[in-house]
Subunit: 233 residues, 2 copies
Amino acid sequence: METELLKVYGDRKSQPTRAILIFCKVNGIRFEEVEIRLFTSDVQTPEYQAIHPLKKVPAVAYGDFTLFESHAILTYLACWYQVPDHWYPADLRKRAKVQSVLDWHHTTLRYGSTRYLINTVLAPTFGKTPSPQAAAEYEQTLVQSLSTIETLWLKGDSKFLLGNDQPSVADLALVCEIMQLHMIPDEERKRIIGPFKKVQQWIANIKEATNPHFDEIHQHLFDAIASSKQNTA
Amino acid sequence: METELLKVYGDRKSQPTRAILIFCKVNGIRFEEVEIRLFTSDVQTPEYQAIHPLKKVPAVAYGDFTLFESHAILTYLACWYQVPDHWYPADLRKRAKVQSVLDWHHTTLRYGSTRYLINTVLAPTFGKTPSPQAAAEYEQTLVQSLSTIETLWLKGDSKFLLGNDQPSVADLALVCEIMQLHMIPDEERKRIIGPFKKVQQWIANIKEATNPHFDEIHQHLFDAIASSKQNTA
């Protein structure tokens, strides 16, 4: 039945795409990466719309089975490939806690982070004028989210979220989101993340737990940022 | 071990609270409902903050085990109580599709709906002035979300989302969100929902599948709306 190879559709500049790619590589899941470049005609083709009708990234396909929404993909892959339990625990209560962080992510960290970027460095990409007022508002949400990670999800001295000594899919999803802040000038990023020492250590812990894949997959983002800075210099 | 009774903390005026209460009642789950009134000191007590440190509703507790984020709660309860499979299928691919709708909900329907309400009828509650410009923007997101439900999630002639003939937790979560639009004047609500015939039929299907609990739990919302209209008349 399962002769088809998993296909992962995405753009390494997209934080949820990177989370899925790192997850697959760390867990030795065989897959074909299909680049779907954001803000290009790649998302508009009938072939891609059959996979992701909402024309976004990432998505996965396994023969006729297609799936989008990165959290749903991560938890599906964790179960389907029976990866080590810490990624998405079989214990219902531990699993529920991971799911709670994933749900929290949507409306807090991810909400603040993406809208902060859209109202600053990404404004031209979205055909918008950067809005300092909106940026300040979303920065507040972003900072509150980092504070919640620091004081609630990283409570105690554990290396990862929820008091765990090994990462879950929630750690990976959230850290990939925070890495997106490398798009803004270094001094801005340091101003925002600087006060959160545990968050910084946790990012280092995730890198360590998932390298060399973490760095390899993020290199594409860093290259794109460097190229963009050169073009606007 | 499980001598403790499940406690459900929430406010029936909150759409995710209602989804959990209806889910428990439909599935014959024994629980104690603890009213935590939104926008009151109920969410500020140390006792409640030990359950929901972010001071929101809903939350559940089972002895020492506490959980918040309504989607995480719904999927946890479905597994813990082994409710009929259609609510949250054991089949990994069917489950992943339900999870995909739940994730989609966060950033689309729920995002548009709650912000539309905050910028219209709920503005005074949030200490804001209603903003027609913001309301128009979020109405667009809301309408796009209803359109996605109509054309993508309700594709075909099935009674429920994803081509199913029985509801999942995603159906319940999304319909409770849409029911919140009863807070706005009838003509506004009809203007927004009117064009979406399948969505309207689907709401009726969910009611039918979960009554008398659906109506009973929603009555509190309707009473609050009636009382609010009387006060402002």
